[in-house]
Symmetry: C2
């Protein structure tokens, strides 16, 4: 303890309490209870355990700290300010929850360095931390302890632990033996609705032990006890849950220990009482000089360690590769070009899930930072390649994770790996089960992480498994999500192009929607990545054009058949393949108008999913072929016929419209 | 044991095995491993424990049996056929996974009586069974054991137990002490990717015990041992997990015990070998006469119990009310009418979440079958009324469930209650967290359950909590889901009308999207439920109409302001309130065209969410105001200004377009 001589830890912790209650009061909204309850624990963490340097928030070997209970955002804002990060400034904190401040209602990784993850949707911070801890062990296995040797720390509340995703995260961490993951559980017995006894009777430590975790508890307001528990957790080879018995809203004379402190300002009177109870005399947003100095000294102690690390990095033969990976830059090479040329020569007729596997074979061989996986559908999602041997508790160097039947946990762990840096995660399940991991997919999009979702079985084309397994609304509902790049390739070449785009999409997630069923080869020229424009002319009308057929994925070949029938009936038809609406929407108007055709052209969309939203491309005067009900269980050809998605069913409707 | 004298249980179980492997082989797709592994356990369940009568599949007091591991659908199809349900016939089974057969790839409650729930999406069958068990205890508390006294049985696999929702379901069942819930876990150690050791190291029994469950295990191929375990489970007052140690694909000579039997036909050779190993000589789809007779005798044994129950029902003073509730018919009365007239007189200016609470106050007072709840946001979702006291382990008669921070578990439990019958469940969380329970919302839609989702904080209007809490794509992505009725009312009167519609929507779920922020009162006339048409003319243009403003929820009052500004600029504007796109889309074209206006009218949509999809109503020539990025953390007025959703920002753009 380097600070006790100057200022007591309790006083330092009270600085967090004061900032938290005052900022929430000033904003007239927010959550003071958690920061006030966990201030003592956080103070011990930042004083004696966490490896960090406020002057170098992106230092690769820093410990990762995730505030999973994101509503308690004033805790991390206080800590970052007090320890000396450039932001938030005191003005930022005064402007808590205002549009000009990086101190948003919930912590946002894209607004503040030092915020490792965007949290708030409960349970996900914890689950992302599991991914960070996987990333650390994996990079350690490849680059050694000289370069990678850090821990992951989490503060989580009862909400994080009650969410279903917690079971998945805990199971994964226990199975992979992530001993450097330590979770500080704010065990305050309070949820929004009242005491935890309203809704749960669980013996939480017993559950964690059942999944291979180490559990220790402490009095969250006794510094020695906290320190002892954290030390024990650090030393245990298993992931650790540290149950910190705390009082929510600690210090608030009439409200502490109640849900009244959880999510609302304390009020002026209670704040005055808290100041008295904590013996904190300063005005709002004023920190005593010696208290601030003590905090800043804490913030300075990581510099020496970082200096030593920098020396090791400079002396490492792997420095360049390590820095490349951490920067997110792809390796230089032409593997994709060669692979595409091979495809152009071979013209394989395969399912796009198989084409994805083939592309992955080429890509994973030359991009070592790619870590794949599947939520127990490896053989169906085609996500494993010969370059990706399993990542296990006994061999973290592996590049394939058997995530188990844990879609949400998988997606969150992938986010954590991407946030950690040095890894490009991809993982698969069936497209319909994006419903299970949508919360994490949205956090990929909010956080701008390069997380790649390999979603196979992307329509009724999966056949007999029936409506529970057949996506209908999923493509459109993912396209409606901001910053989510959805791509649905039509053949092996488009699939490879879409993979290239996903890898280059550094600032956001990509979803590849892939077929179970085999598809014909449609493309021949691979000189330009045509998918990059989102949509392109695959086939020009034979003669005078009267129709533009717009299709995606497996329906592009159907559109080719429809075009042939139309042209046999004297109606020229362009076929536009539109693998990505998002990429198309940002093209210049001239390109869009030219591709889709003017008012004199009938625009027709074909996609084996909901027609909702396709008016954007067809206009109201156009036709939209799709499925606006749930699917059914039958062989694929019967299903396409049943839902009217055949050239024989579609062509007459277009001809009728034209006449 | 009433059948052993004639046919051994093993032979009876082998009938399930034979039908399962032969049907999967005939369909050339499906999952033989689970039915073959669990055939012995299921035979004991249907012979000695389950209360059912194939002649009366809807008998209110039957035990509920849920095949949570829905991929093993041939297990339940075999059982229903063998015990004598009218369907499936042997032809239905021969046509397994064909479009004409009710024997779909996964069990579908709307295709076969005897299938209590649609399963396949893993973990949800189990979680719905928790809801069924709640329903049973609740109705028992109200109607007594003479009318309601049954159990809920589940067969679940490793996938169901590994999913996050399992943690939520187990926690809820343990907390509520649902002792009549018994889960048969197919403990075969195999998942799709291989042995469970690939992905999990969990001590499952210990986890269940940690949540207040009773756990017992048995050899799943030893009839006496199975019987003993089920008896113990029945007698224990806690919910029970029965770990049935089984061999997946039991009987397949070279493939049993491996993932090769999980999800693919065994193949002709292996099937021949299985016939030999099981000493089963019959041709495919032929059941020996005595074996079938033994099964049918089993199926007949419930009739006496049902007769006795019928007598009790006839003698019960509560028979009429019980039958009304189980039929799903609403009570007759005019509480809603009176409530609406009160609103028309009072013209309250409240948030629609508050208006929902007020409507619920009137409704829950007169509809006793409504059970409410919230995923730990009771005070925010405004879901509790004076009529709904808590439903607890000590008092199942209550009508309000503190679901805890378990959105997915809540939604699945609500589905289970609705499927059980006799209950209309409603429950709340924030609209953005539909992402957490979307899998269950989809199953509400597929299963046609009257499950009512009260989703508050429905836009950036929630203010400071920021982008993780602000829905953007959620309204449109839920509207894109088949059979999901989304309603976004604009004031207190519309909120009440939407509640009336939700209650009448017997064959599907409804989602009410409600504001955090206060809204002005817009409606005066309550003589007709105008929301029933999905959209209606709220305000007619003053003078010659040039614009139709189409808005929903909180943006309807904004549209009124825009209309006023437009008319001050000499442009007449209709304001159309569109609380439900789904209801509007099924109106006659004449109504739709008249309401929205012809080509000469500029159509403008205003909704504080993604503009994706609004082209359906505005056409490409119209304007769409909304938010196509993530939100931000700030006070509400600043946010609306920041995202350009103010009359001052919108009006000039419309005027520019008109000129």
């Amino acid at each position: 303890m380097i600070v006790a001589e100057k200022t007591s830890l309790k006083t330092m912790a009270n600085a967090i309490r004061a900032l938290s209650m005052d900022a929430v009061q000033a904003a007239n909204s927010g959550h003071p209870g958690m920061p006030m309850g966990m201030a003592d624990v956080a103070t011990v963490l930042f004083s004696d355990f966490l490896k960090y340097d406020p002057k170098a928030p992106k230092w690769a070997d820093r410990d990762r700290f995730v505030l999973s209970a994101g509503h308690g955002s004033m805790l991390i804002y206080s800590l970052l300010h007090l320890t000396g990060y450039e932001r938030p400034t005191m003005q930022d904190i005064k402007d808590f929850r205002q549009i000009t401040s990086p101190c948003a209602g919930h912590p946002e990784n894209f607004k503040l360095e030092g915020v490792e993850a965007t949290t708030g949707p409960l349970g996900q911070g914890f689950a992302m931390a599991v991914g960070m801890a996987i990333a650390e062990r994996h990079l350690n296995a490849h680059f050694g302890s000289d370069l990678v040797d850090h821990k992951t720390w989490v503060i989580a509340g009862d909400g994080c632990l009650m969410e279903g995703i917690n079971h998945e995260a805990v199971g994964l961490a226990g199975h992979l033996g992530l001993g450097r993951l330590n979770v500080l559980w704010d065990d305050n017995g309070i949820t929004i609705d009242g005491g935890t006894e309203l809704s749960t009777s669980e013996d939480i430590p017993a559950r964690y032990k059942a999944s291979g975790w180490h559990v220790v508890s402490c009095d969250g307001h006794d510094f020695d006890d906290i320190r002892k528990a954290l030390r024990e957790a650090e030393n245990d080879p298993r992931p650790s849950l540290i149950a910190c018995k705390t009082i929510i809203g600690y210090g608030a004379p009439t409200k502490q220990g109640t849900s009244a402190t959880h999510g609302a300002p304390l009020g002026d009177e209670e704040i005055t009482g808290t100041r008295a109870a904590l013996d904190w005399d300063e005005e709002p947003f004023v920190i005593q000089e010696d208290v601030l100095a003590s905090w800043r000294r804490l913030g300075e102690k990581g510099a020496a360690e970082r200096d030593a690390w920098n020396v090791r990095l400079q002396n490492s033969s792997e420095a360049a590769e390590f820095e490349r990976r951490m920067s997110g830059a792809l390796p230089v090479g032409n593997a994709m070009k060669e692979y595409l040329e091979g495809l152009a020569a071979d013209q394989p007729k395969v399912a796009t899930r198989k084409a994805s596997e083939m592309a992955l074979g080429a890509i994973t061989a030359v991009i070592p930072e790619m870590i794949g996986g599947s939520a127990d559908l490896t053989g169906s999602n085609n996500t494993k390649t010969s370059s990706t041997k399993p990542l296990t508790k006994d061999d973290y160097s592996g590049r394939y994770i058997y995530y188990g039947i844990r879609e949400f946990g998988m997606a969150a762990a992938m986010n954590g790996m991407a946030l950690h840096g040095g890894i490009i995660p991809y993982g698969g399940t069936f497209l319909v089960f994006t419903d299970y991991c949508r919360g994490a997919m949205r956090l990929s999009a909010i956080q701008n992480t390069r997380t790649i979702y390999v979603m196979t079985h992307d329509s009724i084309g999966l056949g007999e498994d029936g409506p529970t397994h057949q996506p209908i609304e999923h493509l459109q509902s993912l396209r409606a999500m901001p910053n989510m790049l959805v791509m649905r390739p039509a053949d092996a070449i488009e699939t490879a192009e879409c993979w290239a785009i996903a890898l280059k999409n550094e600032n956001g997630p990509s979803t590849l929607a892939l077929t179970r069923q085999g598809l014909p080869s449609l493309r021949h020229d691979v000189s330009v990545n045509l998918c990059e424009k989102g949509a392109y002319l695959l086939k020009a009308a034979d003669g005078k054009k009267s129709v533009t057929l717009i299709a995606t994925g497996s329906e592009v070949s159907l559109a080719m058949d429809v075009a042939a029938q139309l042209e046999a009936n004297g109606q020229g038809a362009d076929v536009v393949s539109m693998p990505s609406i998002e990429l198309f929407d940002v093209q210049p108007d001239a390109y869009k108008n030219q591709l889709l055709g003017g008012d004199e052209i009938l625009r027709v969309s074909i996609e084996a999913g909901t027609t909702f939203g396709w008016e954007r491309y067809t206009g109201l005067a156009g036709l939209r072929f799709g499925i606006d009900s749930f699917g059914a269980s039958a062989p694929i050809d019967e299903l396409y016929a049943h839902f009217g998605l055949t050239a024989d069913a579609i062509t007459p409707q277009i001809l009728a419209k034209l006449s």
